[in-house]
C-alpha cells in the first residue's frame, strides 16, 4: 500500500498543468515550508523557495487583517500576486495556519490552477501536521522578519545584537525572556522605521 504524503498529493494534482514553476504547502505562523516541489530548474534556488513561503506568510497575514477591516466576520479567501512573467496564487487551508502556494508562468490558465488547488486542499487537509504551540519562538519570528525586510539581511542579526545589547548566540537561538523579546521587538521596529510589527508579543 502506498503511503500518501503531502508531497505525493502535490505531485498528483499538478501533473500535466503547464507553466508550473513551484508548488508548496507552508505554515503561516512561522513561514516554514512543509512540502514543496520545484519545477523551475535553476530558476529558483533552494533559499529562494524557502523565502517564498516566508513572504507568502506575510502576505496572508496582511490579507487576513485587511479582510477583517472590511468585514470582521469574514475569513480571508485567496491571494493573487506576481508580475507580468510569473504569477503567485495562495490559498489557506480553512481554519488552519497552513496554505498552498502555486508559482506559475504568467501565461498559465488561472482556472486550471484553482481547480488543482481545490483538489490539494481536499486531499491534503487530513495529512497536515498537528499544530503545536511555540513551534518557533517570538524572538525567532522577529529575527526572521528582520531578515526578510531589513536592509543588509546577511548582517541584520549582528546589527540587532549590537543594537539591543543581546548576545548573538542567544538571539539566534531565540532564547530570550519576555523583557528581552520586547527589546528585540523595538530593535526590529527601529531598524525598519515602523512603530508596530505584524508579530504579536507574548
Amino acid at each position: 500500500m502506498v503511503v500518501r504524503t503531502l508531497k505525493s498529493v502535490l505531485e498528483q494534482h499538478i501533473a500535466g498543468l503547464p507553466g508550473v514553476l513551484a508548488v508548496l504547502i507552508g505554515r503561516m505562523t512561522d513561514g516554514a515550508t512543509i512540502a514543496e516541489i520545484n519545477y523551475s530548474g535553476t530558476h529558483l534556488e533552494k533559499d529562494s523557495l524557502g523565502s517564498l513561503a516566508a513572504y507568502a506568510s506575510d502576505l496572508l497575514r496582511a490579507n487576513n487583517r485587511l479582510c477583517q477591516v472590511v468585514d470582521a466576520a469574514s475569513e480571508a479567501d485567496y491571494l493573487l500576486a506576481g508580475s507580468a512573467e510569473v504569477r503567485l496564487v495562495i490559498k489557506a487551508f480553512s481554519k488552519t495556519p497552513y496554505f498552498v502556494l502555486f508559482l506559475t508562468k504568467g501565461s498559465t490558465n488561472l482556472k486550471l490552477v484553482f481547480e488543482r488547488i481545490k483538489a490539494i486542499l481536499a486531499d491534503g487537509k487530513p495529512l497536515l501536521p498537528p499544530v503545536q504551540d511555540n513551534t518557533t519562538s517570538v524572538a525567532q519570528l522577529l529575527l526572521s522578519y528582520a531578515r526578510r525586510y531589513a536592509p543588509d539581511p546577511n548582517f541584520v542579526a549582528l546589527r540587532l545584537s549590537l543594537k539591543t545589547g543581546l548576545h548573538r548566540e542567544r538571539l539566534e537561538k531565540g532564547q530570550l525572556d519576555e523583557r528581552e523579546v520586547r527589546i528585540l521587538y523595538k530593535g526590529v521596529a527601529d531598524i525598519l522605521g515602523v512603530e508596530r510589527l505584524p508579530i504579536p508579543l507574548p
Binding site: 546577511n154 548582517f155 549582528l158 549590537l162 527601529d190 525598519l192 522605521g193
Partner: protein
C-alpha cells in the same frame, strides 16, 4: 581648493590643510555610521557629532590660518565652500557669534540614505551627524575655540523627504573639552620596497592618472565619479569614530566588542563591493586601468592600484592566486597612522576597515564576476553571501602591533 591638496607620492597619502583626506562612497559612510548609531545603550550619535567637530575644527582652523581669513563672513563662506568641495552637500550659514540656523541641501548622508534605503525603510531620526559636527566646528573656528558651540539637526531630509535640512547652532552652556585631530598621524619613515607582483598593472601610472582628476563637489556639493557618490573625507573622522566606538563597547559591554568589530569589517566589505564594483564598471576604469588588464588576477591588482590612489596609503597586492587567495601589503595605512598616534601599540590587529576590504576585492572579482558588469544592487550582494564560498580575510602582520607594515591574507571559507 585643489591648490591646497598635497599629494605625498611616496606614501600615497593626500593632505588637505594638514588633514589626511581619503575617498569613500556613501555605502561605506552609511554602513559605518549606522553601526555606530545603532546601539541604544551607548551614545553613538554623540561619538559621530563630537568626532566631526574635533576633526573638522582642526581642518578649518588650519585653512583659515593658511588662507589668512580674518572676517567671520570670509571664514563662514570658506567653511561652506570646503564642505561642498569635499562632497558633503551645501551649507548656508545664517549665524552670528551667538549662533543661529544653517540650511543643508543635497546632504550626502541624507540623499545617499534615501537612494540606498529610502524605498525599503523609514527613518525617524536625523542622519546628518557629520554636518552637525561640521557646523559646530565652523563656528568654533570662526568665532572662538574648539568645543565652544553645540549644534543639533532639527529637520532632516532623510526623515521629512523635503528639500532641505535645518541645523541649529548655539553656544554651549559650558565649553566642552574636546580633542583635536592628530593630523597626519604616525607616518612611515621610508616606503618599503615591495616586490612588484606578477601583473601588467602599473600601479604608479594608475595613481598619476587618478591623482590628476580634479574630483570636487559639483554645484550641489556632490562628487559623482566612477558611477558612485563619493566624499573626500578626513581620514581621521573615520578613524576617530571607529576607535572611539570600539573603546566605548569595550567599556560598557566587552562581550559585544567582537560584534562591533565584525560590523566595522563588514563596512569595509560593503565599501569595496559597491565602490570598487562600480569603479570597475565605470568608463574611468575602462579608460585608465582597462588597457592594463590581461588576466583575472590583474583585476585584483587594478583594484589595489586604484585603492592606493584614494589617499588610503600604499596598498599593494603581493601575490594573487587566481580564484583562491591573495596576500596584500599596506604600508602606511590610514588606520594604522592614526592608531599609532593615538594609542599605545595594539595587542591585536586593529585595521578593521582593511580586514574587510581585502577579502571583498576577491569576492567582487571571483564571486561577483565583475568583468561581466552585473547590476550591483542589494539583491546581488545578498546572493553573493547566500551562495557560500565567500572569501574571508585576516590581518597577518600589523604595523599597529609593531610589524614594519600591515599585511592581509584572504581565502575562501
Amino acid at each position: 581648493m585643489f591648490e591646497h591638496l598635497y599629494i605625498d607620492r611616496p606614501r600615497k597619502l593626500v593632505a588637505f590643510f594638514s588633514e589626511p583626506v581619503i575617498f569613500h562612497c556613501h555605502h561605506y559612510n552609511l554602513f559605518l555610521q549606522q553601526t555606530i548609531e545603532d546601539p541604544d545603550w551607548i551614545d553613538g550619535v554623540s561619538i559621530l557629532q563630537t568626532s566631526a567637530q574635533e576633526i573638522f575644527y582642526s581642518l578649518l582652523a588650519n585653512a583659515f590660518k593658511r588662507l589668512g581669513l580674518q572676517t567671520a563672513a570670509e571664514r563662514l563662506a570658506t567653511a561652506a565652500h570646503i564642505f561642498s568641495f569635499l562632497g558633503f552637500g551645501r551649507l548656508n550659514f545664517e549665524v552670528t557669534e551667538e549662533g543661529g540656523e544653517v540650511e543643508l541641501t543635497h546632504s550626502h548622508y541624507a540623499e545617499g540614505w534615501l537612494g540606498k534605503y529610502g524605498e525599503q525603510v523609514n527613518r525617524t531620526k536625523p542622519i546628518d551627524h557629520l554636518a552637525v559636527g561640521y557646523v559646530a566646528a565652523a563656528l568654533d573656528a570662526t568665532f572662538a575655540a574648539l568645543g565652544t558651540y553645540v549644534a543639533e539637526e532639527t529637520s532632516c531630509v532623510a526623515v521629512t523627504r523635503q528639500d532641505h535640512c535645518i541645523i541649529q547652532v548655539t553656544k554651549a552652556a559650558v565649553p566642552r573639552s574636546l580633542t583635536p585631530s592628530p593630523q597626519m598621524g604616525k607616518l612611515i619613515d621610508q616606503p618599503v620596497p615591495f616586490p612588484k607582483g606578477d601583473t601588467s598593472v602599473d600601479y604608479e601610472a594608475v595613481n598619476e592618472a587618478l591623482w590628476g582628476l580634479p574630483l570636487e563637489g559639483d554645484t550641489n556639493g556632490q562628487i559623482r565619479a566612477f558611477n558612485v557618490l563619493l566624499t573626500r573625507m578626513p581620514a581621521n573622522y573615520y578613524n576617530r569614530i571607529q576607535y572611539r566606538f570600539l573603546d566605548e563597547l569595550q567599556k560598557v559591554d566587552p562581550q559585544l566588542l567582537e560584534v562591533g568589530q565584525a560590523l566595522i569589517r563588514e563596512s569595509g566589505h560593503v565599501c569595496v563591493f559597491y565602490t570598487f564594483g562600480n569603479i570597475m564598471e565605470s568608463l574611468e576604469w575602462e579608460t585608465v586601468v582597462g588597457p592594463m588588464l590581461n588576466t583575472d588576477t590583474d583585476w585584483i591588482h587594478g583594484g589595489y592600484a586604484v585603492a592606493s590612489s584614494l589617499g588610503w596609503g600604499r596598498w599593494q597586492a603581493l601575490e594573487v592566486v587566481s580564484n583562491e587567495s591573495c596576500r596584500v601589503a599596506i604600508d602606511g595605512n590610514y588606520e594604522a597612522n592614526y592608531f599609532l598616534a593615538s594609542y599605545p601599540p595594539a595587542a591585536q590587529p586593529a585595521c578593521y576597515f582593511a580586514q574587510g576590504a581585502v577579502p571583498a576585492m576577491m569576492n567582487i572579482v571571483y564571486n561577483g564576476h565583475i568583468e561581466r558588469k552585473p547590476v550591483l544592487d542589494e539583491a546581488f550582494y545578498n546572493r553573493l553571501f547566500q551562495r557560500g564560498g565567500v572569501f574571508q580575510g585576516v590581518e597577518v602582520k600589523a604595523r599597529e602591533k609593531g610589524d614594519p607594515w600591515c599585511e592581509f591574507y584572504a581565502q575562501r571559507l
